[in-house]
């Protein structure tokens, strides 16, 4: 037997003698793992801990060594119980009126894991003399009702390599998925449909905008998310029957992925009435597919003279 074998056996014995405690330490190390920058690197370390440790400890706390599920059963229940514990932790924090944050979730799960560790360690004590190779029957195989259970299993000669096969399958599957995503991401895709938008900027106003005696400047923005340059005509009108020109028209050429900042100077209205102004942008050579009208964008706003009562409207 080589030194390596001896070392591995000693480590295994040490692990099995107090695995819940060591597992708890692994969970506690999540605090240090959080120092890693968030993303795939931290996820590769933190996700297996978060998604396995609380559940594994639950199994250790609930089942004694002889009855504890093994292999896929252990992994399956460990993952699902860990997920459920993270939900219970959030519920507990909510009921205790503690905000659910990274820190509070960590401490809550650590407390839960510590309690489960105590229970699991307590279960280990009477069984310590039996630490060694596992020879645990599958749950229920002693049940006489299952004497008629089907026995079409294949040769169980590969039982020893179970973990390696499963890990191999997981690695192969994940590589295939990752490869598919990578290839798809690097294939040519149809260019996204471009668009243009226009909006008011400046301070947020509710209701009509008050225009002082010197008039007011109303800022707006035109964003052109297209791959080509487009020529527009820009104008402002007083809305009414009929509408009247307030400013413009201007001819503007906007290049691809460009933003233009506009300002509309509004003179003081003559009385206390509220008026609606409209800024309209019209594409010079583009028509709407449905209406066949020139492609048009508009924004509007209501304005009134500062200091003049609406009651003076019409006077």
């Amino acid at each position: 037997m080589t030194r390596t074998h001896v070392f591995v056996r000693q480590v295994t014995r040490l692990w099995l003698s107090a695995w819940p405690f060591w597992t708890l330490l692994v969970f506690a190390s999540l605090a240090a793992v959080r120092l890693l920058p968030g993303g795939y690197a931290r996820a590769a370390v933190a996700a297996p801990i978060l998604l396995a440790v609380p559940g594994a400890l639950t199994l250790g706390a609930v089942f004694s060594g002889h009855h504890r599920p093994r292999g896929v059963l252990f992994a399956g229940y460990a993952v699902l119980l860990s997920v459920v514990w993270s939900v219970f932790a959030s519920l507990a924090l909510y009921m205790l009126k503690v905000l659910i944050t990274a820190e509070s979730t960590y401490w809550c799960l650590l407390v839960v894991s510590a309690l489960l560790t105590i229970a699991a360690e307590a279960r280990l004590v009477p069984g310590r003399s039996q630490v060694g190779p596992r020879s645990v029957p599958e749950p229920g195989t002693l049940d006489p009702d299952w004497a008629s259970a089907e026995a079409d299993d294949g040769p169980p000669a590969a039982v020893r390599g179970a973990g390696y096969y499963a890990i191999g399958a997981v690695m192969a599957g994940l590589s295939l998925l990752a490869g598919g995503v990578y290839v798809q991401d690097h294939l040519p895709h149809p260019a996204p449909t471009g668009y243009t938008w226009m909006a008011w900027t400046g301070p947020r106003v509710n209701g009509a905008i008050a225009i002082g005696a010197a008039g007011a400047k109303l800022p707006f923005q035109i964003v052109h998310r297209q791959s080509h340059t487009t020529t527009f005509r820009l104008r402002a009108t007083w809305l009414g029957a009929p509408s009247r020109l307030l400013a413009g028209p201007l001819t503007v050429s906007i290049g691809p992925e460009k933003t233009f900042h506009g300002v509309l100077f509004v003179p003081p209205p003559p009385n206390g009435c509220t008026y609606r102004i409209v800024v309209t942008l019209t594409a010079a050579q583009q028509v709407e597919s449905q209406t066949k009208h020139p492609l048009t964008w508009s924004i509007n706003a209501d304005v009134h003279r500062l200091g003049k009562s609406p009651n003076t409207c019409g006077s």
Partner: protein, 669 residues
């Protein structure tokens, strides 16, 4: 099982076969591995190619063909290897794990970086709320009921906190885990019911043919997590019932209780179904003809005890935390029943199967064949049970009772298919299949295994090959049909914008509009908009979209004719008192009919005409917003307009006689 008897079983002639040793040689394994890798790579490439074609066309046969060629290459060889008699159980488990992972590919590749389905946006929002506010049960504008079931969102938030991944990355990791665990869980459940490793694996593969497996139960939604919890809860429950010792019963009962609590917190329908299956099992183990045997009273007490605990948890959650669950679920059943009755009497309008589907004819026809094949296999399963009872291999006891209860829950699938003919019941029927197929695959698996063995026993090689080919073809057809019976092609495949489709309505323009709105006005604004615009504003935009209904008919704002007051009269005062401050209009409402048939929600009145060739009800009615006194247009893009709602309306509106004053316009880059 003692070590000696275990060795006897291993060395028994029945478990040894000379052909096994030939096939299981290292060379054989190497060849199988290389072939499997080749099929996997080619299959993945074909699926990617199918999706690439789909991106450029609304719907084409070639995208379906490439996709299914890919899926066949990915899944059929794996299924073949899993079902070989001589496959060692550890390798079979590894292959099943691999099967679970690769069967997640269609959903993952559909949109690897973001939500794509309607429900996913709602669940994304709910998780973002937990991360943003640190609280559970935040109201959800898109699907209000999900706020009362925080299991998935809390689990995702915990993973985001621990890893620093974004919501979608954490969600993808969890979903992949749940999906793989679901496959392994079905196999484990079948094994817990006394089936061998091979038949159990076959049950898992049969389960993967159900209509929810590839897409619906892989989406970021609460059922995807809850159904996996349900299956593993049932495994623990079966263990608790089976265990001959008090300690075994107690430990498995603890596991059952913890996992059923997790299910209850996560999803209403899964919790309800879990309770139903547990009740079936409890009833079955209480029937002497099925279960009477030594200690059967303890078995029944254990079963009923756990069922009552679960019932108490479900009842408490429904009563105190999520009282809206029953009103939410009942229309799917009640409405469906009443529509079926009307149709039977000739007074109702039935639902045309695949009416608006973009699937090719062969997909649609396969969907019908799935039900027929499932029925044949279920009959075979019943026959298998009968034979086993007659020859004494399935005596009274827990196993017989458990098999009967799972059989019963599986057979519910067949009457549920009738509901697919009713508009209200179709959705409920489809959703039930992921649950009924648990029992159905357990019932069908022994019959399918018998068929495989029957093919294997044929003396002539050509006969064996023909029968195996026929079985592989049946599996392929069931895979196609099962998937086609679930979600529409617009959900399954990426593609260009499709107006009125939940899964193809997101455009850069909509995302840009929502981003502008959030940057300008912040989050948490109460807004009125249509279903598809609301998906993005209500999720990524964190806005509160109005939920239109008969009592709050916000669609009437859009429907009102220009110059005519909006009805009912209380609507505007309700908008004002509830602080709705913005209205968002997609001008395509006036020209296009929605692909899924609704502009807002299924509650919208039927008189919004959806016939092709008829102008939409909103035609000519959207420009009025530019002149309404209490609305100001603050944003317009190619298709979207954002109006500020200034309610209550001012007593004196803007003047229609404009002044002759000139201002000035200037623009700078």
């Amino acid at each position: 099982l003692t070590a000696a008897s275990y060795r006897r079983q291993v060395n028994s002639p029945s478990s040894r076969d000379s052909s096994v040793h030939q096939d299981s040689s290292p060379r054989g394994y190497l060849l199988a591995t290389v072939a499997l890798a080749g099929c996997g790579l080619a299959g993945m490439a074909a699926v990617v190619r199918g999706y690439q074609i789909a991106e450029t066309t609304v719907s084409s046969t070639s995208e379906f063909a490439w996709f299914w060629i890919g899926m066949f290459l990915l899944e059929l060889p794996l299924a073949g290897l899993v079902l070989r008699r001589d496959a060692p159980r550890t390798i079979r488990t590894a292959l099943l794990t691999f099967y679970g992972i690769v069967s997640y590919a269609p959903k993952l590749l559909r949109d690897p970086t973001s939500s794509a389905y309607h429900d996913e946006f709602a669940h994304w929002r709910e998780t973002a709320e937990i991360l943003g506010t640190g609280k559970l049960f935040r109201s959800d504008a898109i699907i209000p009921i999900i706020a009362r079931y925080p299991g998935l969102h809390a689990a995702t938030a915990a993973l985001v906190h621990a890893t620093g991944l974004n919501i979608w990355q954490a969600a993808t990791l969890l979903l992949l885990l749940f999906h793989v665990m679901l496959v392994l869980g079905i196999a484990t459940l079948a094994q817990a019911l006394g089936f061998g490793n091979r038949t159990s694996s076959l049950a898992a593969i049969l389960y993967s043919l159900n209509s929810s497996f590839l897409y619906f139960d892989t989406q970021y939604a609460y059922e995807s997590m809850a159904i996996t919890l349900l299956v593993w809860t049932l495994v623990a429950y079966v263990w608790a019932i089976r265990s001959p010792s008090r300690q075994g019963r107690a430990t498995s009962s603890v596991l059952t209780t913890v996992l059923s609590a997790g299910t209850v917190i996560t999803h209403h329908l899964s919790a309800f179904t879990l309770l139903l299956i547990m009740a079936f099992i409890s009833l079955a183990v209480s029937v002497p003809w099925l279960a009477k045997r030594e200690n059967w009273v303890w078995t029944a007490v254990t079963a009923w005890g756990l069922t009552l605990i679960t019932a108490a948890m479900v009842g408490s959650w429904f009563l105190f935390v999520a009282p809206s669950s029953l009103p939410y679920l009942s229309p799917y059943i009640g409405g469906g029943l009443s529509e079926l009755m009307q149709e039977a009497q000739g007074s109702g309008a039935g639902r045309q199967l695949f009416g608006a589907s973009m699937s090719p004819w062969w997909e649609q026809n396969s969907a019908y064949l799935v039900t027929i094949s499932a029925f044949a296999l279920a009959m075979g399963g019943l026959l298998w049970i009968r034979v086993r009872i007659r020859d004494g291999r399935l005596p009274r006891g827990r196993r017989r009772a458990l098999l009967f209860s799972f059989t019963l829950s599986g057979l519910i699938y067949f009457p549920s298919t009738i509901f697919i003919l009713s508009p209200a019941g179709a959705e409920g029927a489809r959703r039930s299949w992921a649950f009924t197929w648990i029992g159905l695959c357990i019932l069908a698996a022994p019959a399918a295994a018998w068929l495989l063995d029957f093919a294997r026993r044929r003396a002539h090689q050509w006969m064996r090959v023909s029968m195996r080919s026929a079985l592989a073809a049946s599996l392929a057809i069931a895979l196609v049909g099962g998937t086609a019976a679930g979600l529409d092609a617009s959900y399954r495949f990426p593609g260009p914008f499709l107006y009125g489709s939940d899964a193809r309505s997101v455009t850069p323009e909509l995302l840009g509009t929502s981003a502008w709105f959030s940057a300008r006005f912040g989050s948490g604004n109460n807004i009125v908009t249509d279903r598809y615009t609301g998906l993005i504003f209500g999720s990524f935009g964190l806005q509160n979209t109005a939920g239109p209904s008969a009592s709050f008919p916000t669609y009437n704002i859009y429907l009102a004719k220009p110059g005519v007051s909006i009805k009912p009269a209380y609507l505007l005062s309700e908008l004002s008192s509830s602080d709705y401050t913005y209205l968002i209009v997609d001008k395509r409402m006036a020209y296009d009919l929605p692909q899924i048939g609704v502009y807002f929600e299924p509650d919208e009145p039927m008189w919004i005409d959806r016939r092709h060739g008829v102008k939409p009800a909103f035609y000519g009615r959207l420009d009025k917003f530019n002149t309404i006194q209490w609305m100001v247009k603050v944003f317009q893009s190619d298709n979207y307009s954002v109006y500020r709602i200034d309610l209550p309306a001012p007593k004196i509106g803007y003047q229609h006689q404009p002044p002759r004053l000139r201002g000035k316009l200037s623009v700078t880059p």
